[in-house]
């Protein structure tokens, strides 16, 4: 993706580094690490910190599609990895503090699935899906897509990191779900491709990362959380729980999202992405709950807590984001940092 605009001292310093090559930068990455550590220590909340979330997003981006103009050798530069770990530590601490976990007594895959279904059902933040279905204006639908585009244009990728860290039943389950996310061998049916089609239907740019500058820290945090869980093997329980929570809160909301776009007269081409998820995720949630999350806990009982953590964190961050977005809409303002040009 293209370089976004920096939002504070850490991202300014980071982007300057990334634009130069990685040779002979050990001193500078060390200085940036100190700066990042200070920023993590002094910020009110890492989850909401514009500068830190943007820096983290770009550090992760080096492992996905890369940043246009950044030397590809930066990806495994030890100085940068150390900076990322510095921010991740604070981010993980903040996420763990933000959630409450259910009792850790589930013993088999059926009971793990049932606890996860319970968590997902209890998710009682403000209902974005009901608002989109009934009230959202066309401008708000476009903002809704812009927030989602940060993840949905690379939908499924963060969870795919987990595949080589799993074995047996949970691995087969993860692969079965991901194969469906990636279109079952049909590139035009990949969920990320369906989402791009929806964006084009609302005359939005479907280039990955195009709207990073427009979205607030929380939107980036929601995707950064998945990257952190997916890229750190020790957090494999959390990425599995995260996927289960996503699948379990998808079918019905997507039906309502589709209704919102139909209400504004958009056709099946635009609602395809949402319609597909109504059906797909009713399958995925069953596999993710029992075979993936439950199967992982049966194989590695010590991961139960992290499975719940990943699920609870996914629900908590998305509830915060919905609340923030809808609070802006309620006062008639944009939920974006940079509002879309009127009528564009």
């Amino acid at each position: 993706m293209k370089f976004p605009s920096a939002r504070g001292p850490v991202s300014i310093f980071l982007f300057d580094l990334l634009r130069a090559g990685p040779e002979g930068t050990a001193d500078q990455t060390y200085v940036l690490r100190t700066l990042a550590a200070r920023s993590v220590a002094s910020t009110e909340n890492v989850i909401n910190d514009e500068d830190l979330q943007l820096a983290m997003f770009c550090l992760y981006e080096l492992h996905y599609g890369g940043l246009a103009g950044a030397d590809e050798r930066w990806e495994w530069n030890p100085g940068l990895i150390a900076i990322r770990q510095e921010i991740e530590e604070g981010f993980e601490r903040a996420l763990r503090a933000a959630v409450e976990l259910p009792a850790l007594d589930a013993a088999d895959s059926d009971s793990v699935a049932s606890v996860l279904f319970g968590l997902a059902a209890a998710d009682n933040g403000p209902s974005m899906s009901r608002y989109v279905a009934k009230e959202a204006s066309l401008e708000q639908l476009r903002e809704f897509l812009i927030h989602k585009s940060i993840y949905q244009l690379k939908e499924a990728d963060p969870h795919t990191w987990a595949i080589p860290r799993l074995n047996g039943r949970p691995k087969a389950a993860m692969v079965e779900i991901q194969a469906d996310e990636y279109g079952g061998g049909r590139p035009q049916r990949m969920h990320s491709v369906l989402f791009a089609r929806t964006m084009r239907g609302l005359e939005l740019d479907d280039v990955y990362g195009e709207y990073v500058d427009a979205v607030p820290a929380l939107t980036l945090a929601s995707t950064n959380m998945m990257s952190m869980f997916g890229l750190n093997r020790r957090l494999r329980g959390a990425i599995v729980g995260h996927l289960a929570a996503y699948e379990m809160t998808s079918s019905q909301p997507n039906r309502l999202y589709g209704n919102g776009f139909r209400r504004h007269g958009f056709n099946e081409d635009v609602t395809w992405y949402f319609d597909e998820h109504v059906e797909a995720d009713a399958v995925h949630e069953q596999i993710a709950g029992r075979d993936l999350a439950g199967g992982l806990v049966e194989a590695e009982p010590a991961l139960l807590e992290d499975v719940y953590f990943g699920a609870a964190a996914a629900l908590a961050v998305d509830a915060l984001l919905s609340a923030q977005t809808m609070a802006a809409w309620k006062t008639g303002t944009s939920s974006l940092r940079i509002p879309l040009p009127a009528g564009a």
């Binding site: 059926d110 047996g168 079952g184 998808s250 059906e279 797909a280 009713a282 399958v283 069953q286 596999i287």
Partner: protein, 82 residues
Amino acid sequence: MSDELSPLHRDREPKDAIVVCPDGPLLVRGDFEIVSTTGEKLPRQRRTVALCRCGASGIKPYCDGTHKLIGFRTDFPDRKAT
């Protein structure tokens, strides 16, 4: 690998299976067609499907998660049954 199946087990492992999901759909995985009473194939988008058994889905015969909203409960088969 630890869960490698012995030849004996391999024969017993069903190629096609219907997973009876507690309080939810029937998950069908394997080699099968979904057809109308006259044998015509119904639209099908994926290999593994969830068939609604609560009766409330808006996209029958497939499940759309509505079973969770109507409090659909299944007590049979017993989860501990062998």
